[in-house]
Structures are given as structure tokens and as C-alpha cells.
Amino acid sequence: MFPFLKKQIDVCAAVASVTFKEWGAYRSHSMVSIFVGPVFFIVQYFIWTAVFESGAMPGMELEEVIRYFAAVALIGYLVMDFADWNLSMLVRTGKFLTFALRPLNHSFFALSQKVGHRILGFLVEFVPCYFIFMFIFKIDMRPAFFGWVLISISLAFLMNFYVNYCIGLASFWVVQSQGIRSVYELLGGIFSGALIPLVFFPLPLQKLQFFLPFQYTSYVPAMVFLGKYSLGGVEISIPVIVGIQALAVAVVFMLCKILNEFAMKHSTAVGA
């Protein structure tokens, strides 16, 4: 068991390190976030300040909303993923064949790539923006429960990856999965909580979110950061919601494994 784990960690570290160096050559692309993140935040700040001037919103105070949007922006840098696009491209161009021949599961390879990519994101996106929010905008960015936030963000990282990977797997059947990816992106934009806290949605839509993967990538870790979670008229303690998040990740992970099996059986390619 332990030699297997050690080997997996070594493989992950090697792939992550190469990905880090590869993307590090284009670090200025990632550094766009240092401008874009704070600008979007400024807009959100003034929108919600104006809205709260005219009356309260149900479920959150102004200070919480502002901290929420700052947390969502920062969490986005840690969990960002495009495994769907990558896998879709590999399938469409036939390059996936080269991965099928390697003594390494592609989903694990892609996950390791994401680890390296997001370590770069942590250094050139998360850290500068964190300091901008904390020391220039004077937003209190200290999490309520550091340990739980760390676990919740790690789960959000996995959730985002496995959902995207499932969508990428659709390419084995439809080849050009751009449409499916766009639809997911659209739904994710609405229901992840990145656009607006889910607690501001109508009650039936809030309840629906417990059965969809979207909230677990953004809303849950942001609320864990704030130290209180409520949705659909239900208040849930932080350990319980993180547990629910872990369960959701496990379900998506299993779904991904099953889909992967079917995809491998369905896959045909020559040459590449």
C-alpha cells in the first residue's frame, strides 16, 4: 500500500513540477488576474454598497457580502480548471492515444498537471490578490476556521476537476464537446455562487443546489471561509457541510471512474 502511495506521490510531484515550469514560462498570462480580480471586486463592492443602502438583502450583511466576493475571487484562483478542454482537445486530435499507451492513468496525470498549474496560480494570482484585498482594500481576509477552509478548498479543487473531467469524457462520444462545456459553464456561472451568493436566490432554487455539483466549487468554500453556512432556509454547521461536500466529491469521483471505463471501451484511434 505504502510503496504504491509513494509512487503515486512521486509521479504527481514530477508531473506537477514539469507543468509548473511549462506554465511558468507564460506567467504573465496568469498575472492578468492581479488586475482583473481587484477591478471586478471594486465593481462588486460599489454594487453591493449601493444595494444595501436601499435596504437589506435576506441572509447576509453587507460586510459578509464583501468578504464573500473577495473569498470567491481568491478561491477561484486555487480551483480553476480546464481539464474538460484539454481532454476534449486530446480526443478530437487523436493525441489521447499517446496517453493510452503510457503506464499511467490519464485522469491522474491530468490531476497532477492541475496541481502544478494551480501552485503557479497560488504564487502569481492568489498571493498578490490576497495582499491587495487585505492591505489595499482593507478587507478582513482571515478565515473563520483555517483548517476547515483548507479542507473545503481542497474538496472544491477535486470537485471542479472531476466534474470537468466527466464533461471532457463526453468527447469520446460527441468528439466536439464545446456545446456541452458551454452549457455547463453557463449553469456553473449561475449556480456556483460566483456571480451572486446563492442565499439570494428563490428558495426552491436554493434547495435544488444540494443535488447539483455547482455550489461545492465556490459557494461552500466561500461560506466556510465566512464561518457560517445557510442555504434553502437551513443553517448547517461547518463540519457537516464540509462532510456533505466530501460526500458529493466522492459521488462525482465514482461517476468519473465509471464514465472513464465506458469511454476507454468506446475509444478507437489510429496513429495520432
Partner: protein, 259 residues
């Protein structure tokens, strides 16, 4: 000038002919563009349905601003949206020489051959929102000419933005995140400018006139304008010329050895 129109017309026909070859893909793209478009007023809908508001602004007044923004965005996206991606691809692959060899202005060639028919979804969605807001907001029909002038000025800002983005790709090679920078700046134009402090309002009116894309045209339609507002159209036109000038300047800075 007639040649330019003739070339442009042929390119639009070719774009739609191309789209009609993959009709399902075209319709899906339109639907998805429309869906993304609906995300934008969603925040406004949720805010107003919760009983809050942007101070001094009714729901349909804000919707009017956002619909005008969507219309302008759709129109500019159709006409200029493809220029950035085409320029970026040519610069990255070192094939911009092909564009330079064409017997017409490189900018005009890229604008005409990259007509983006998918942005039609934005126009349709924006149009539907605009008609809804127009019916329910307290709009002055007499202000339509003023609206048209200010909308044209806002369109100049959009055109300038697209040219500047495309020009940036000559130096910042292959950076697909360039639009994010400009999108973040344009976000200020999607909401009533009155919610922002004076400094941001000043910048969004005179320096980078994103306020002219939707806020000022919608305000004119709501009857809240005086003649001084037309002076703000001047920086908008200048902004478009700045975009065109920058693009042409960057074309001269392009270096390549034939792809």
C-alpha cells in the same frame, strides 16, 4: 468607399453561408450566447426581487441600461470581435504576412473576413431586453434621436476597445486573457454610474468612456439629459481613433519571417 462596402457585404454573406453549413452548431451557439447574456441581468433581477434596489433607479431603468450595453456589445462583437482572435493567431503563428500581402488595409481585411455571426444571439437577447425595458420604463419617445447619437458614441467606445485589444496581441503574444482585462474595465459601464464615486464616474465618462456604452444613452431615453452630454461624445470618437491608430502602429511594429 464602394469597394469597401462591396467587400464587406460579400464577407457577411460568406459568414452566413458558412454558418448555414453547420446549422445546428450555429443555432446552439446562438442559444448559448443568449444564455450567457441572460446571466448579466440576473443579479439585477435577484436584487430587485429581494426588495432592494440601486438607489434612485427602478428595475426597468436598470434593465434598460443593461439591455443597451448588450445591444452595443452584440453589434461590436459581430463587427470587431473576431479581429482580436484572428490577429492573435496570425501573430502567434507568424503568418500575419498573409494579411499584409492583401491588396487592402490589414485592419479592414481582418474586420471584414472575421464577421462574427454568433454574436447575433447577443443582439437578439439585447433587443428583447431592450423592448421589454422600453415598454415598462418611463421612456421618452422624443429622446430617441438623442439616444441614437449617444448609442453611436458608445459603439465608438466598443470599437476602440476591440481595436486596442487586438493591438495588444502584437506585443503580448498568444495571451488569450487579454479580453478579460478589457471586460473588467467595461463592467463599470453595465451599471448606473451614479453608484460609483466621482473619481470612477469621471474616468468612465472622459478617460475610458465606458459610461457612454449604455449609461448615458439609457439616461437620455429616460429624459435625463441636457445638451452638455453630447460633448461627452467627443472623447468616444477620439477613443475609437486611438484604437485604430494603435492597431495600425502595432502592425508596423510586427516582425515575422513568413510563418
Amino acid at each position: 468607399m464602394r469597394t469597401f462596402f462591396s467587400v464587406y457585404k460579400s464577407c457577411i454573406s460568406a459568414a452566413f453561408a458558412r454558418a448555414s453549413a453547420y446549422r445546428l452548431n450555429f443555432l446552439l451557439s446562438l442559444a448559448i450566447t443568449l444564455g450567457f447574456n441572460l446571466l448579466f441581468p440576473l443579479v439585477t433581477i435577484l436584487i430587485y426581487s429581494a426588495g432592494s434596489s440601486f438607489p434612485g433607479w427602478g428595475f426597468f431603468e436598470v434593465l434598460l441600461i443593461q439591455s443597451v450595453f448588450t445591444l452595443s456589445n452584440g453589434l461590436a462583437g459581430m463587427m470587431f470581435g473576431g479581429v482580436l482572435w484572428a490577429t492573435m493567431q496570425h501573430v502567434r503563428e507568424g503568418s500575419f504576412e498573409i494579411v499584409l500581402l492583401k491588396p487592402t488595409s490589414p485592419l479592414f481585411f481582418l474586420i471584414s473576413t472575421n464577421f462574427d455571426e454568433d454574436s447575433l444571439g447577443l443582439l437578439v437577447g439585447g433587443g428583447a431586453l431592450f423592448v421589454t425595458a422600453f415598454i415598462f420604463a418611463d421612456v421618452s419617445v422624443l429622446a430617441l434621436p438623442a439616444f441614437a447619437i449617444l448609442f453611436a458614441a458608445g459603439f465608438c467606445v466598443m470599437a476602440g476597445m476591440n481595436m486596442l485589444m487586438a493591438a495588444t496581441s502584437f506585443k503580448w503574444v498568444g495571451n488569450s486573457r487579454i479580453p478579460e482585462i478589457f471586460d473588467s474595465i467595461m463592467t463599470f459601464g453595465k451599471y448606473p454610474l451614479t453608484i460609483f464615486p466621482n473619481m470612477i464616474r469621471g474616468i468612465a465618462t472622459f478617460a475610458i468612456p465606458v459610461g457612454m456604452i449604455a449609461f448615458y444613452p439609457a439616461t437620455a431615453l429616460l429624459g435625463g439629459y441636457d445638451l452638455k452630454i453630447f460633448l461627452v461624445a467627443i472623447p468616444c470618437v477620439l477613443f475609437m481613433f486611438l484604437g485604430v491608430w494603435t492597431y495600425r502602429y502595432m502592425v508596423r511594429a510586427y516582425e515575422g519571417v513568413g510563418g
